[in-house]
Protein backbone atom coordinates (compact mmCIF):
# COMPACT_ATOMS: atom_id res chain seq x y z
CA UNK A 1 0.00 0.00 0.00
CA UNK A 2 1.25 3.40 -0.80
CA UNK A 3 -0.43 6.58 0.37
CA UNK A 4 0.90 9.97 -0.58
CA UNK A 5 -0.37 13.22 0.92
CA UNK A 6 0.76 16.75 1.62
CA UNK A 7 2.00 17.48 5.13
CA UNK A 8 1.45 20.55 7.24
CA UNK A 9 3.55 20.21 10.41
CA UNK A 10 2.38 23.41 12.12
CA UNK A 11 4.60 25.89 13.95
CA UNK A 12 4.85 23.97 17.21
CA UNK A 13 6.23 21.02 15.27
CA UNK A 14 9.53 22.80 15.01
CA UNK A 15 9.35 24.01 18.61
CA UNK A 16 7.45 22.77 21.61
CA UNK A 17 6.13 19.64 19.92
CA UNK A 18 9.17 18.67 17.91
CA UNK A 19 8.78 15.06 19.12
CA UNK A 20 5.21 14.91 17.73
CA UNK A 21 6.48 15.99 14.31
CA UNK A 22 9.37 13.58 14.47
CA UNK A 23 7.32 10.57 15.57
CA UNK A 24 4.53 11.39 13.10
CA UNK A 25 6.99 11.37 10.19
CA UNK A 26 8.65 8.17 11.42
CA UNK A 27 5.36 6.32 11.97
CA UNK A 28 3.99 7.37 8.60
CA UNK A 29 7.12 6.18 6.88
CA UNK A 30 6.86 2.86 8.68
CA UNK A 31 3.21 2.49 7.65
CA UNK A 32 3.93 3.28 4.02
CA UNK A 33 2.58 6.82 3.99
CA UNK A 34 4.55 9.31 2.01
CA UNK A 35 4.33 12.77 3.59
CA UNK A 36 5.39 15.69 1.39
CA UNK A 37 5.84 18.83 3.44
CA UNK A 38 4.16 21.85 1.84
CA UNK A 39 7.00 24.00 0.66
CA UNK A 40 7.17 27.38 2.38
CA UNK A 41 4.06 26.82 4.50
CA UNK A 42 3.08 29.56 6.92
CA UNK A 43 1.28 29.77 10.25
CA UNK A 44 -2.47 29.01 10.19
CA UNK A 45 -3.07 31.91 12.55
CA UNK A 46 -4.07 29.60 15.37
CA UNK A 47 -6.53 30.78 18.02
CA UNK A 48 -5.33 34.42 18.12
CA UNK A 49 -6.24 34.96 14.46
CA UNK A 50 -9.83 33.77 14.69
CA UNK A 51 -10.38 35.70 17.88
CA UNK A 52 -9.41 38.83 15.96
CA UNK A 53 -11.19 38.30 12.64
CA UNK A 54 -12.66 35.33 10.81
CA UNK A 55 -11.57 36.44 7.35
CA UNK A 56 -8.02 37.14 8.46
CA UNK A 57 -7.92 33.69 10.04
CA UNK A 58 -9.31 32.09 6.87
CA UNK A 59 -6.79 33.93 4.68
CA UNK A 60 -3.78 32.90 6.78
CA UNK A 61 -4.93 29.27 6.63
CA UNK A 62 -6.08 29.35 3.01
CA UNK A 63 -2.63 30.47 1.90
CA UNK A 64 -1.39 26.98 2.78
CA UNK A 65 -4.24 25.13 1.11
CA UNK A 66 -3.73 27.10 -2.10
CA UNK A 67 0.02 26.55 -1.89
CA UNK A 68 -0.49 22.81 -1.44
CA UNK A 69 -2.77 22.66 -4.46
CA UNK A 70 -0.19 24.53 -6.54
CA UNK A 71 2.37 21.96 -5.46
CA UNK A 72 0.08 19.19 -6.71
CA UNK A 73 -1.38 18.03 -3.39
CA UNK A 74 -5.09 17.30 -3.28
CA UNK A 75 -5.09 16.39 0.37
CA UNK A 76 -3.08 17.74 3.27
CA UNK A 77 -2.77 16.17 6.71
CA UNK A 78 -1.69 17.84 9.90
CA UNK A 79 -0.98 16.35 13.30
CA UNK A 80 -2.14 19.45 15.21
CA UNK A 81 -5.88 19.77 15.98
CA UNK A 82 -5.66 23.55 16.27
CA UNK A 83 -4.11 23.84 12.79
CA UNK A 84 -6.69 21.30 11.61
CA UNK A 85 -9.60 23.36 12.94
CA UNK A 86 -8.31 26.53 11.31
CA UNK A 87 -7.48 24.89 8.00
CA UNK A 88 -10.83 23.13 7.86
CA UNK A 89 -12.72 26.30 8.74
CA UNK A 90 -10.86 28.10 5.96
CA UNK A 91 -11.63 25.25 3.60
CA UNK A 92 -15.31 25.61 4.45
CA UNK A 93 -15.27 29.35 3.93
CA UNK A 94 -13.60 29.25 0.54
CA UNK A 95 -16.06 26.60 -0.62
CA UNK A 96 -18.79 29.14 0.11
CA UNK A 97 -19.00 31.21 -3.05
CA UNK A 98 -20.34 34.20 -1.18
CA UNK A 99 -17.49 34.19 1.33
CA UNK A 100 -14.62 33.24 -0.95
CA UNK A 101 -14.07 36.72 -2.49
CA UNK A 102 -13.47 38.17 0.99
CA UNK A 103 -10.69 35.66 1.60
CA UNK A 104 -9.29 36.15 -1.88
CA UNK A 105 -9.18 39.90 -1.32
CA UNK A 106 -6.87 39.48 1.66
CA UNK A 107 -4.85 36.74 0.02
CA UNK A 108 -4.59 38.56 -3.31
CA UNK A 109 -4.83 35.17 -4.96
CA UNK A 110 -7.49 32.81 -6.23
CA UNK A 111 -8.83 30.14 -3.88
CA UNK A 112 -10.55 28.19 -6.64
CA UNK A 113 -8.26 25.23 -6.23
CA UNK A 114 -7.25 24.36 -2.73
CA UNK A 115 -6.30 21.16 -0.98
CA UNK A 116 -8.59 19.43 1.53
CA UNK A 117 -7.48 18.79 5.10
CA UNK A 118 -7.59 15.90 7.54
CA UNK A 119 -5.69 14.94 10.68
CA UNK A 120 -2.86 12.42 10.58
CA UNK A 121 -4.91 10.52 13.17
CA UNK A 122 -7.81 10.20 10.72
CA UNK A 123 -5.43 9.25 7.92
CA UNK A 124 -3.89 6.47 9.98
CA UNK A 125 -7.22 5.09 11.24
CA UNK A 126 -9.10 5.32 7.98
CA UNK A 127 -6.51 4.85 5.25
CA UNK A 128 -4.05 2.50 6.92
CA UNK A 129 -6.62 0.79 9.07
CA UNK A 130 -6.51 -1.07 12.34
CA UNK A 131 -5.92 -4.49 10.78
CA UNK A 132 -2.80 -3.28 9.02
CA UNK A 133 -1.56 -1.71 12.26
CA UNK A 134 -2.20 -4.94 14.16
CA UNK A 135 -0.20 -6.84 11.59
CA UNK A 136 2.66 -4.33 11.70
CA UNK A 137 3.02 -4.35 15.50
CA UNK A 138 6.29 -5.99 16.53
CA UNK A 139 6.43 -4.85 20.16
CA UNK A 140 2.95 -5.08 21.65
CA UNK A 141 2.26 -2.58 24.43
CA UNK A 142 1.26 -5.39 26.76
CA UNK A 143 0.53 -4.59 30.40
CA UNK A 144 0.36 -0.87 29.72
CA UNK A 145 -2.69 0.99 31.06
CA UNK A 146 -3.25 4.05 28.93
CA UNK A 147 -5.88 6.77 28.86
CA UNK A 148 -6.48 8.46 25.52
CA UNK A 149 -7.12 12.17 25.72
CA UNK A 150 -8.32 13.83 22.51
CA UNK A 151 -8.70 17.41 23.62
CA UNK A 152 -11.59 19.66 22.85
CA UNK A 153 -11.27 20.39 19.15
CA UNK A 154 -10.03 17.21 17.49
CA UNK A 155 -13.65 16.18 16.81
CA UNK A 156 -15.64 19.32 17.55
CA UNK A 157 -17.75 20.87 16.31
CA UNK A 158 -18.84 17.67 14.56
CA UNK A 159 -20.32 19.47 11.54
CA UNK A 160 -16.88 20.90 10.78
CA UNK A 161 -14.64 18.01 11.74
CA UNK A 162 -16.70 15.16 10.28
CA UNK A 163 -14.60 12.58 12.06
CA UNK A 164 -15.21 10.21 14.95
CA UNK A 165 -17.69 10.87 17.75
CA UNK A 166 -17.72 14.37 19.25
CA UNK A 167 -18.45 13.13 22.78
CA UNK A 168 -16.77 9.76 22.87
CA UNK A 169 -14.10 9.58 20.16
CA UNK A 170 -12.50 6.18 19.73
CA UNK A 171 -9.81 6.58 17.03
CA UNK A 172 -6.82 6.67 19.40
CA UNK A 173 -8.41 4.09 21.72
CA UNK A 174 -8.61 1.71 18.80
CA UNK A 175 -5.05 2.39 17.66
CA UNK A 176 -3.76 1.78 21.18
CA UNK A 177 -5.81 -1.42 21.42
CA UNK A 178 -4.39 -2.52 18.10
CA UNK A 179 -0.94 -1.95 19.61
CA UNK A 180 -1.88 -4.26 22.47
CA UNK A 181 -2.32 -1.66 25.21
CA UNK A 182 -5.07 -1.76 27.82
CA UNK A 183 -7.19 1.30 27.14
CA UNK A 184 -8.94 2.76 30.18
CA UNK A 185 -12.42 4.29 29.81
CA UNK A 186 -11.31 7.88 30.32
CA UNK A 187 -14.48 9.94 30.71
CA UNK A 188 -12.90 13.35 30.09
CA UNK A 189 -11.63 12.58 26.59
CA UNK A 190 -12.90 15.84 25.13
CA UNK A 191 -12.75 18.17 28.13
CA UNK A 192 -10.56 21.22 27.62
CA UNK A 193 -7.07 21.32 29.20
CA UNK A 194 -6.84 25.11 29.33
CA UNK A 195 -5.53 25.53 25.81
CA UNK A 196 -3.48 28.65 25.17
CA UNK A 197 -4.38 30.22 28.50
CA UNK A 198 -1.10 28.96 29.96
CA UNK A 199 0.82 32.16 29.53
CA UNK A 200 -1.82 34.85 30.10
CA UNK A 201 -3.98 33.00 32.66
CA UNK A 202 -1.99 30.20 34.21
CA UNK A 203 -4.65 29.46 36.86
CA UNK A 204 -7.01 28.30 34.13
CA UNK A 205 -4.58 25.66 32.97
CA UNK A 206 -3.68 24.49 36.44
CA UNK A 207 -7.38 24.09 37.26
CA UNK A 208 -8.48 22.37 34.04
CA UNK A 209 -5.42 20.21 33.49
CA UNK A 210 -5.57 19.43 37.20
CA UNK A 211 -9.07 17.95 36.73
CA UNK A 212 -7.86 15.80 33.86
CA UNK A 213 -4.85 14.49 35.78
CA UNK A 214 -7.06 13.86 38.81
CA UNK A 215 -9.48 11.65 36.91
CA UNK A 216 -6.67 9.94 34.98
CA UNK A 217 -4.95 9.22 38.27
CA UNK A 218 -8.15 7.82 39.81
CA UNK A 219 -8.26 5.28 36.97
CA UNK A 220 -4.64 4.25 37.70
CA UNK A 221 -3.52 5.54 34.34
CA UNK A 222 0.11 4.73 33.59
CA UNK A 223 0.43 6.89 30.50
CA UNK A 224 -1.81 9.56 29.02
CA UNK A 225 -1.90 9.47 25.25
CA UNK A 226 -2.61 12.69 23.36
CA UNK A 227 -2.87 13.99 19.82
CA UNK A 228 -2.54 17.72 20.46
CA UNK A 229 0.61 19.77 21.08
CA UNK A 230 -1.16 22.19 23.38
CA UNK A 231 -2.81 19.44 25.45
CA UNK A 232 0.48 17.60 25.70
CA UNK A 233 2.32 20.73 26.77
CA UNK A 234 -0.25 21.65 29.41
CA UNK A 235 -0.35 18.16 30.87
CA UNK A 236 3.36 17.39 30.62
CA UNK A 237 5.44 20.55 30.78
CA UNK A 238 2.96 22.24 33.13
CA UNK A 239 2.34 19.15 35.29
CA UNK A 240 4.74 20.62 37.85
CA UNK A 241 2.80 23.91 37.86
CA UNK A 242 -0.44 21.95 38.28
CA UNK A 243 1.01 20.06 41.22
CA UNK A 244 2.30 23.22 42.86
CA UNK A 245 -1.02 25.06 42.37
CA UNK A 246 -3.21 22.23 43.62
CA UNK A 247 -0.93 20.61 46.16
CA UNK A 248 -0.90 17.34 44.24
CA UNK A 249 1.94 15.04 43.31
CA UNK A 250 1.03 13.55 39.97
CA UNK A 251 3.77 11.91 37.99
CA UNK A 252 1.98 10.67 34.91
CA UNK A 253 3.85 10.65 31.60
CA UNK A 254 1.98 12.29 28.73
CA UNK A 255 2.99 11.11 25.27
CA UNK A 256 1.81 11.55 21.71
CA UNK A 257 -0.06 8.60 20.24
CA UNK A 258 2.47 8.52 17.44
CA UNK A 259 5.25 7.92 19.97
CA UNK A 260 3.62 4.80 21.46
CA UNK A 261 2.49 3.62 18.05
CA UNK A 262 6.04 4.07 16.78
CA UNK A 263 7.49 2.02 19.63
CA UNK A 264 4.96 -0.74 18.99
CA UNK A 265 5.95 -0.71 15.31
CA UNK A 266 9.56 -1.26 16.35
CA UNK A 267 10.96 2.27 16.20
CA UNK A 268 13.57 3.23 18.78
CA UNK A 269 13.07 5.63 21.68
CA UNK A 270 15.24 8.10 19.84
CA UNK A 271 13.31 7.81 16.59
CA UNK A 272 10.11 8.85 18.36
CA UNK A 273 11.79 11.58 20.42
CA UNK A 274 11.02 10.17 23.88
CA UNK A 275 13.77 12.23 25.47
CA UNK A 276 11.90 15.44 24.70
CA UNK A 277 9.15 14.65 27.20
CA UNK A 278 9.30 16.27 30.61
CA UNK A 279 7.71 13.53 32.71
CA UNK A 280 9.90 10.61 31.78
CA UNK A 281 7.91 7.62 30.48
CA UNK A 282 10.87 5.27 30.15
CA UNK A 283 10.60 3.58 33.59
CA UNK A 284 7.01 2.51 32.86
CA UNK A 285 7.81 1.52 29.30
CA UNK A 286 10.78 -0.53 30.50
CA UNK A 287 8.65 -2.18 33.14
CA UNK A 288 6.10 -3.09 30.51
CA UNK A 289 8.85 -4.49 28.33
CA UNK A 290 8.32 -2.03 25.52
CA UNK A 291 11.81 -0.59 25.82
Amino acid sequence: MSISVGYYPGCSGSGTSVEYDKSTRAVCKKLGIELTEIDDWSCCGSTPAHTVDHTLSAALSARNLVLAAKQGQEEVVTPCPSCLANLRTASHKIEDEAYRPKVEALLDDSCESAATVASTLQLIVEKVGLDAIKKAVVKPLKDLNVACYYGCIMNRPPELMQFDDPENPMAMDKIMEACGATVLPFPLKVECCGAAAGMPKKEIVTELSGRLLNVADSLNTEIIVTACPLCQMNLDLRQGQVNRANGTGYDIPVVYFTQLLGLALGLSADEVGLSKLVVDPTPRLRFAGVL
Partner: protein, 189 residues
Protein backbone atom coordinates in the same frame (compact mmCIF):
# COMPACT_ATOMS: atom_id res chain seq x y z
CA UNK B 1 -27.99 45.42 40.82
CA UNK B 2 -28.82 47.40 37.78
CA UNK B 3 -32.33 47.50 36.29
CA UNK B 4 -32.27 46.62 32.62
CA UNK B 5 -34.51 49.01 30.70
CA UNK B 6 -36.38 46.71 28.31
CA UNK B 7 -37.93 49.48 26.28
CA UNK B 8 -34.68 50.45 24.66
CA UNK B 9 -32.76 47.33 23.69
CA UNK B 10 -29.87 47.94 21.33
CA UNK B 11 -31.44 46.30 18.31
CA UNK B 12 -28.47 47.14 16.12
CA UNK B 13 -26.28 45.21 18.51
CA UNK B 14 -28.54 42.15 18.35
CA UNK B 15 -28.66 42.37 14.57
CA UNK B 16 -24.91 42.80 14.26
CA UNK B 17 -24.19 39.77 16.46
CA UNK B 18 -26.63 37.70 14.42
CA UNK B 19 -25.27 38.83 11.07
CA UNK B 20 -21.62 38.41 11.94
CA UNK B 21 -22.09 35.02 13.57
CA UNK B 22 -24.80 33.68 11.27
CA UNK B 23 -26.66 32.49 14.37
CA UNK B 24 -30.21 33.21 15.50
CA UNK B 25 -29.83 34.24 19.13
CA UNK B 26 -33.59 34.14 19.61
CA UNK B 27 -33.55 30.36 19.33
CA UNK B 28 -31.76 30.19 22.70
CA UNK B 29 -34.27 29.08 25.33
CA UNK B 30 -31.90 29.49 28.25
CA UNK B 31 -31.53 25.86 29.21
CA UNK B 32 -28.05 26.59 30.47
CA UNK B 33 -26.37 23.66 28.75
CA UNK B 34 -23.56 25.91 27.51
CA UNK B 35 -22.85 27.11 31.02
CA UNK B 36 -23.17 23.57 32.33
CA UNK B 37 -20.46 22.30 30.04
CA UNK B 38 -18.16 25.31 29.96
CA UNK B 39 -14.74 24.39 31.36
CA UNK B 40 -13.90 28.07 31.76
CA UNK B 41 -17.00 28.97 33.73
CA UNK B 42 -15.07 29.10 37.01
CA UNK B 43 -12.96 31.92 35.62
CA UNK B 44 -15.87 33.84 34.04
CA UNK B 45 -17.52 36.94 35.43
CA UNK B 46 -20.69 36.33 33.39
CA UNK B 47 -21.63 32.75 32.54
CA UNK B 48 -22.03 31.98 28.86
CA UNK B 49 -25.80 31.37 29.05
CA UNK B 50 -26.15 34.79 30.66
CA UNK B 51 -24.05 36.28 27.87
CA UNK B 52 -26.56 34.77 25.46
CA UNK B 53 -29.42 36.24 27.48
CA UNK B 54 -27.83 39.68 27.58
CA UNK B 55 -27.36 39.54 23.82
CA UNK B 56 -31.06 38.67 23.45
CA UNK B 57 -31.87 41.70 25.56
CA UNK B 58 -29.59 43.93 23.50
CA UNK B 59 -27.27 44.81 26.40
CA UNK B 60 -24.23 45.83 24.38
CA UNK B 61 -22.11 47.34 27.14
CA UNK B 62 -22.64 44.54 29.64
CA UNK B 63 -21.68 41.97 27.05
CA UNK B 64 -18.69 43.66 25.46
CA UNK B 65 -17.23 44.68 28.80
CA UNK B 66 -17.42 41.18 30.24
CA UNK B 67 -14.23 39.30 30.97
CA UNK B 68 -15.78 36.03 29.88
CA UNK B 69 -15.62 36.77 26.16
CA UNK B 70 -11.85 37.08 26.46
CA UNK B 71 -11.42 33.93 28.51
CA UNK B 72 -13.38 31.64 26.18
CA UNK B 73 -10.92 29.29 24.49
CA UNK B 74 -13.31 28.15 21.74
CA UNK B 75 -13.29 24.59 23.07
CA UNK B 76 -16.69 24.04 21.35
CA UNK B 77 -18.40 22.29 24.29
CA UNK B 78 -21.25 24.79 24.12
CA UNK B 79 -21.62 24.53 20.35
CA UNK B 80 -21.48 20.74 20.37
CA UNK B 81 -24.09 20.29 23.10
CA UNK B 82 -26.51 23.13 22.36
CA UNK B 83 -29.95 21.54 21.94
CA UNK B 84 -30.86 24.29 19.51
CA UNK B 85 -27.67 23.85 17.50
CA UNK B 86 -26.56 27.42 18.09
CA UNK B 87 -22.84 27.87 17.45
CA UNK B 88 -22.30 29.57 20.79
CA UNK B 89 -18.50 29.51 20.49
CA UNK B 90 -18.81 31.42 17.23
CA UNK B 91 -20.94 34.05 18.95
CA UNK B 92 -18.29 34.38 21.67
CA UNK B 93 -15.70 34.85 18.92
CA UNK B 94 -17.79 37.55 17.27
CA UNK B 95 -18.33 39.32 20.59
CA UNK B 96 -14.57 39.36 21.05
CA UNK B 97 -14.17 40.94 17.61
CA UNK B 98 -16.74 43.56 18.49
CA UNK B 99 -15.16 44.25 21.86
CA UNK B 100 -11.78 44.68 20.17
CA UNK B 101 -13.26 47.10 17.64
CA UNK B 102 -15.01 49.05 20.37
CA UNK B 103 -11.75 49.34 22.25
CA UNK B 104 -12.71 47.13 25.17
CA UNK B 105 -10.14 44.66 26.35
CA UNK B 106 -11.08 43.63 29.83
CA UNK B 107 -8.47 40.86 29.82
CA UNK B 108 -5.35 42.77 28.85
CA UNK B 109 -3.06 39.78 29.12
CA UNK B 110 -5.16 37.62 26.87
CA UNK B 111 -5.24 40.36 24.27
CA UNK B 112 -1.51 40.98 24.67
CA UNK B 113 -0.73 37.31 24.13
CA UNK B 114 -2.86 37.20 20.99
CA UNK B 115 -1.28 40.38 19.69
CA UNK B 116 2.22 39.11 20.38
CA UNK B 117 1.41 35.87 18.61
CA UNK B 118 0.06 37.56 15.51
CA UNK B 119 2.91 40.06 15.37
CA UNK B 120 5.26 37.14 15.27
CA UNK B 121 3.34 35.52 12.43
CA UNK B 122 3.26 38.80 10.55
CA UNK B 123 6.96 39.27 10.94
CA UNK B 124 8.26 35.77 10.24
CA UNK B 125 5.44 33.93 8.48
CA UNK B 126 5.49 31.35 11.23
CA UNK B 127 5.30 31.62 14.98
CA UNK B 128 8.61 32.18 16.71
CA UNK B 129 7.75 30.87 20.17
CA UNK B 130 10.63 32.49 22.05
CA UNK B 131 9.86 35.75 20.28
CA UNK B 132 6.21 35.59 21.29
CA UNK B 133 7.22 35.05 24.91
CA UNK B 134 9.65 37.99 24.81
CA UNK B 135 7.12 40.26 23.17
CA UNK B 136 4.40 39.21 25.61
CA UNK B 137 6.65 39.89 28.59
CA UNK B 138 7.48 43.27 27.15
CA UNK B 139 3.82 44.15 26.66
CA UNK B 140 2.69 43.05 30.10
CA UNK B 141 5.79 43.25 32.26
CA UNK B 142 4.95 39.75 33.51
CA UNK B 143 8.50 38.45 33.45
CA UNK B 144 7.97 35.88 36.13
CA UNK B 145 4.94 34.28 34.60
CA UNK B 146 6.47 31.02 33.37
CA UNK B 147 9.95 31.29 34.69
CA UNK B 148 9.34 28.18 36.77
CA UNK B 149 9.13 26.20 33.54
CA UNK B 150 12.68 27.01 32.54
CA UNK B 151 14.41 24.18 34.45
CA UNK B 152 12.13 21.63 32.78
CA UNK B 153 12.10 23.31 29.41
CA UNK B 154 15.65 24.36 28.69
CA UNK B 155 17.40 20.96 28.80
CA UNK B 156 14.93 19.65 26.24
CA UNK B 157 16.33 22.03 23.66
CA UNK B 158 12.94 22.58 22.08
CA UNK B 159 12.82 26.31 21.57
CA UNK B 160 14.95 27.48 18.76
CA UNK B 161 16.88 30.65 19.43
CA UNK B 162 16.31 32.00 15.94
CA UNK B 163 12.98 32.44 14.18
CA UNK B 164 12.10 30.22 11.18
CA UNK B 165 11.94 32.70 8.37
CA UNK B 166 9.95 31.59 5.36
CA UNK B 167 10.38 32.84 1.80
CA UNK B 168 6.77 33.85 1.62
CA UNK B 169 6.85 35.97 4.75
CA UNK B 170 6.21 39.09 2.67
CA UNK B 171 3.03 37.50 1.36
CA UNK B 172 1.89 36.76 4.92
CA UNK B 173 2.72 40.30 6.00
CA UNK B 174 0.65 41.62 3.12
CA UNK B 175 -2.36 39.60 4.23
CA UNK B 176 -2.17 41.49 7.51
CA UNK B 177 -1.65 44.78 5.71
CA UNK B 178 -4.70 44.29 3.48
CA UNK B 179 -6.72 43.21 6.51
CA UNK B 180 -5.88 46.48 8.28
CA UNK B 181 -6.57 48.56 5.17
CA UNK B 182 -9.90 46.82 4.75
CA UNK B 183 -10.87 47.67 8.29
CA UNK B 184 -9.72 51.25 7.95
CA UNK B 185 -11.76 51.57 4.76
CA UNK B 186 -14.80 50.17 6.54
CA UNK B 187 -14.45 52.70 9.32
CA UNK B 188 -14.05 55.63 6.95
CA UNK B 189 -17.24 54.65 5.20
Amino acid sequence: METIPLNSPDKDFIREVQERSGQNVQSCYQCGNCTAGCPYNFAYDVSVSRIMRLVQLGQREAVLKSHSIWLCATCQSCTTRCPNSIEVAKIMDVLRHMAREAGYATERNVKAFGDAFLESVEKHGRVYELGVTASYVKKTGRFWTDVDLAPAMLPKNKLSIKPHEIRGKEHVAEIFKRYRERDAAKENR
